[in-house]
């Protein structure tokens, strides 16, 4: 009897438990940090307050960072001008809120939320449009050249920031949150600011929505495949350029959303805020692994939580806590926590 297949017994090596555990380890870092924070602080109510504010901060940073990391993963473009969208988003959003002050000032949660929603939509529309123009004018001519990309996008950052000064004036703008989002609620003896809870909710919804988009839709599949092997996706007939522009615009709009959220959180906006946030965003993107959305999410939560815990425990160390975190993570995993595997 002849067999067509050569005689062999294929064995599929199962992934050992330790390797599976290593892959999941970054996910465990957040709960570990939360538990460590609890042990170090000792007082449950302050711990809860700090955890919520750390999560809120982390979510906002994640919203800003997600676009940047995807743009890098997909097209190998590093956009130092991303911070400009944060500032522009904050200014547009806050101006809209000022325009809707009778809704934002009314003691009704529905009207307040509608005002915030409109402000966010306005900010996202403007920053999305700006992102499209930015991609066209600034980024497109320098594909594939990292050095020029860095230089040119820094130039774009300066120009946009200065235009904010020209349009809105050089002074910082103070604002107050909408009426029903002021103050805090008490929960198990811990004071939780209402706005922070809202920020956590928005961040979580966004993360889940993004994950579903990436895992369950066709466009998400194309983006993920494009990150891993762009040439192959193009060979299959998808125009990755267009997908990339779409991701760039979406990322810019998300940066604008992050800007509005951050402006409402700080209750003051300046043209330089985007530049300041960019430092945290870069740290998050690096420790998460360039190109990885999940990594950026975990990184953002770690940065937010750690900064809040350390600021409470040892205020002087808070300044360097992020650098310390980055150093530690890069020593552990030089490519970041969840590096994107490039099929090249």
């Amino acid at each position: 009897m002849t067999t067509l297949a050569p005689d062999h017994k294929p064995t599929f090596a199962s992934v050992p438990l330790s390797e599976r555990f290593a892959a999941a380890l970054p996910v465990l870092l957040v709960p570990i940090l939360v538990v460590l924070g609890f042990l170090a602080i000792g007082n449950p109510s302050s711990w809860l307050t700090l955890t919520v504010s750390g999560l809120a901060m982390g979510m906002m940073i994640f919203v800003m960072a997600s676009g940047l990391t995807l743009v890098f993963g997909l097209m190998d473009v590093i956009n130092f001008g991303h911070g400009a969208f944060i500032s522009v988003g904050a200014f547009v959003g806050v101006s809209t809120l000022f325009g809707l002050s009778h809704w934002a000032g009314a003691p009704s949660l529905t009207l307040n939320l509608i005002a915030i929603l409109l402000a966010v939509l306005a900010a996202m529309a403007v920053t999305g449009l700006l992102g499209w123009a930015f991609e066209r004018i600034i980024v497109k001519p320098v594909y594939g050249a990292h050095l020029k990309q860095i230089l040119v996008t820094v130039g774009g950052l300066i120009v946009i920031e200065q235009m904010i000064h020209v349009i809105w004036g050089p002074e910082e703008i103070f604002l107050t949150r909408p009426e029903m989002l002021k103050g805090s609620i008490t929960f198990w003896g811990a004071a939780l600011e209402k706005y922070r809870l809202l920020a956590v909710a928005i961040g979580l919804i966004l993360f889940v929505a993004m994950r579903l988009t990436f895992r369950r839709t066709k466009i998400g599949l194309i983006v993920r495949a494009g990150v891993e092997n762009g040439e192959m996706v193009e060979a299959l007939g998808y125009r990755l350029r267009i997908v990339f522009v779409g991701v760039f615009v979406a990322g810019s709009a998300l940066a604008g959303l992050g800007g509005v959220m951050w402006g409402l959180y700080q209750e003051v906006i300046t043209a330089g805020m985007g530049e300041e946030m960019m430092i945290l965003v870069f740290i998050v993107v690096i420790i998460g692994g360039l190109g990885s959305v999940e990594g950026a999410f975990i990184g953002a939560l770690l940065v937010g939580l750690l900064q809040n815990y350390i600021a409470f425990l040892e205020p002087k160390l808070a300044l360097v806590s992020n650098i310390g975190l980055m150093t530690a993570i890069l020593m552990w995993r030089p490519q970041g926590m969840m590096p994107v595997v490039k099929a090249k």
Binding site: I78, F80, H146, I150, V154, I158, V285
Partner: protein
Amino acid sequence: MLKTLLSNDTPRSKVLTIVVLIIFLGLALAPFLFPGVRSLDTAARIAIFIVLAASYDLLLGYTGVVSFAHTMFFGMGAYGVGLASLHMGRGFGAILVGSLAGAALAAAFAFLIALFSLRVRAIFFAMITLAVASAVAVLVSQLSWLTGGEDGFTFKIPRELGPANRLGEVAGVKINGKLLNYYLIFTCSLALFLLMLRVVNSPFGRVLQAIRENDFRAEAIGYRVVWYRTVATCLSAAVAALAGSLFALWLRYVGPDTTLSFSIMLDLLLMVVIGGMGTIWGAAVGATLLVLAQTYLQDLMGSAASATEFLPLLSRLLDPDRWLLWLGVLFILSVYFFPTGIVGRLRGDK
């Protein structure tokens, strides 16, 4: 002799030779050609920023690595001299110790950052330097017991270098300690500039250029890319720190605004890009142009802004505070259209 001094890297263009000669003579004879406090100050700034831009060009132009921490190294040198003079008392010993300590600290920092980022991806370096530099800038403004915080601090330099040290008159110009200080800075800057020229034209510099063009191939030939990049980073950081020491010596003051601010970093990027990346001469031309423009053009913008007051938007755009806007536009345009900068154009490179 001259060729040896310039490490065989002559300007290679008639116009550029003339420009470089004008810069050199202008700086060498500045006190006599342009008497006045302000012009002497401008000349000293030009000399120091030429060194700083040249050291940055070693990274950006020759190694192809973007760093945003160069002002941090500059500041380390400046604070080194300032703190040493403050705590050791005025004297040349304090200045020497301060400069050397600053340079050593800068090189050590650069080494650490480079090891962390360059070993993975060169692009990490830009982001990590940005993060570290901003953390250090915040730290300096917070640790006011050591650094004087936002205000910085003034310190005393040796009496021989102060304006009170009068030595007579030459050609109608009073020779005093301030002039000596200028010439001290000028000589040190010239020496450092020639050193940078030497470095980039050495075999080491060639390897750096090879890495810039194709790091993969350089590695394949057998050069350890990471080590070359790391050494270039350390060297550039140390020279930047020495430039910072000179700057502190000239100002007799150190503070975050004059040494660490992000706007100086941007100026530096502009100097190197406009002058011409990958040529040390470009750093000289770019630094001279930018410092001159900053000192004298801003006045011009002020008058332009007041002249166009009837057009509110234009007037706002021309406001001297919006200086950076125009620099930004210029920066983008020069990266697109003059990637080799002024020197590249003059030399007729593509």
